[in-house]
């Protein structure tokens, strides 16, 4: 890669910036509590690399002009990175690192009204999948490529909404407001369907200025890539059901 030298320092700096607080928290909390599992550290690092790859380097550069690369960025930032980061349980790590009174403040915040509303799977699905419809069905897609600020906000939203959706469906981390397995399954199925419907719609009528061949390849990447990552989401949701079903019978609801 001829221009690897140009983006690599920035790329590594970004990864380091994302990894440093997690490592410090692990180091601090390991002093008083039992050892934080290594696999979670690995997942946080992989999540950080996914985000950095989506935002810095050749993929991010080409995403401005090429719809296929744009979709690859979307899969990394909105689906893969949230899953990897959720598995690394950052909220649990934060709570065990903080002293008791600060940790209580954080849990009080998580239990507050706005968080209760946002962590409802339906709200999270609307923010996540609905946000994509707004992005591709309105002029937002066009203006995103005109203004760096809009580009940054859209990508921040893609990650945050993806993360919110992931943790609202699968309870990897600290989750004060819990919903039944059945309810979360139904929301997940409908959200996945919404993702598929949007992918096929984009195949037929891509955003303005996107060439036919790029639109077809990009929407198929969205469709099958979404299937692949959602399979892991479904897997973990069912795995939690399986673990809960060992304890009792009322685990469907």
């Amino acid at each position: 890669m001829p221009d690897a030298g140009e983006f690599l320092p920035l790329f590594l700096f970004a990864v380091l910036l994302a990894v440093a607080p997690y490592f410090s928290a692990v180091f601090l909390s390991n002093k008083k509590q039992r050892k934080w599992p290594t696999y979670r550290i690995v997942f946080w690092c992989l999540g950080a690399v996914s985000i950095a790859a989506a935002l810095i380097g050749p993929l991010a550069d080409q995403a401005h002009a090429d719809f296929r690369m744009h979709m690859a960025v979307h899969l990394l930032l909105g689906m893969l990175a949230p899953l990897l980061i959720a598995i690394s349980r950052p909220m649990t790590l934060l709570l065990r690192t903080l002293n008791v009174s600060s940790a209580r403040g954080v849990t009080a915040l998580l239990k507050s009204g706005p968080f209760r509303l946002m962590s409802n799977p339906i709200t999270a699905a609307f923010l996540n999948i609905g946000g994509l419809y707004v992005l591709y069905m309105t002029a937002l897609f066009h203006s995103m490529h005109q203004s760096p600020l809009v580009y940054a906000l859209v990508h921040l939203h893609i990650f945050l909404a993806g993360y919110l959706f992931t943790v609202s469906i699968v309870y990897f981390d600290v989750t004060p407001h819990r919903f039944s397995f059945l309810f979360r399954s139904i929301v997940l199925i409908i959200a996945l369907a919404g993702h598929k419907i949007l992918a096929k719609t984009l195949y037929a009528s891509p955003p303005e200025g996107v060439p036919r061949s790029e639109a077809e390849a990009g929407s198929m990447l969205m469709y099958y890539g979404g299937d692949a990552i959602d399979a892991f989401l479904i897997f973990f949701l069912c795995l939690h059901w399986y673990k809960a079903a060992a304890k009792g019978e009322a685990s469907f609801f």
Binding site: S185, L188, L192, A193, K196, I197, Y203, I234, F235
Partner: protein, 171 residues
């Protein structure tokens, strides 16, 4: 099927299967739906490339129906594995009932795909630039045959359930 030898009395062990008859049925049905949707994707979309990802003649409602159906099939296929694992753990797996439900689920999905998706909603055809009638006939007749086999197997698990009960009352 492997039985837990600790629980197996002499003679035929049926474990806890009667307690979990309906869960055997649903897990089989889910697996059948997931399996046939996956086979449809692999064989007809990817390998043969007869089906099209989107043939540009599809109605809005067709895309919505297809999206919901496929995402449900994806979910249920994965969930069915965990249901089977749960049944095995509870010593309640019932192979005949499960396989009957798998075949019924696969046939039902195939028939729904063949009649509603292909014909009513005109989502996509089995193959393009050919006389479609023989393809449609084979597709849907095969689906009906699968449904009949599934129903037959399931009805046998019903009668064996009744016979067992009758046998128990005589003893």
């Amino acid at each position: 099927m492997t039985m837990n030898p600790a629980n197996a009395p002499s003679g035929k062990n049926t474990g806890n299967r009667k307690l979990y008859g309906s869960r055997n049925f649903w897990s089989g049905l889910f697996f059948g739906i997931g399996l046939i949707a996956f086979m449809d994707e692999v064989v007809f979309h990817q390998l043969l490339q007869w089906h099209h990802f989107y043939d540009l003649a599809t109605t809005r409602i067709g895309i919505v129906s297809d999206g919901l159906l496929n995402s449900f099939a994806w979910f249920s296929g994965i969930f069915s594995f965990f249901m089977v694992a749960d049944l095995r753990r509870k010593n309640a797996f019932w192979p005949k009932k499960w396989i009957g439900a798998v075949i019924l689920g696969a046939g039902s999905f195939q028939l729904f795909d063949g009649l509603i998706n292909h014909k009513v909603l005109n989502l996509h055809q089995i193959r393009y630039d050919v006389n479609i009638l023989p393809y449609d006939l084979v597709w849907n007749i095969l689906a009906v045959v699968l449904i009949l086999i599934g129903v037959f197997l399931l009805s046998q698990t019903r009668s064996s359930q009744k016979k067992k009960k009758a046998g128990n009352s005589h003893a």
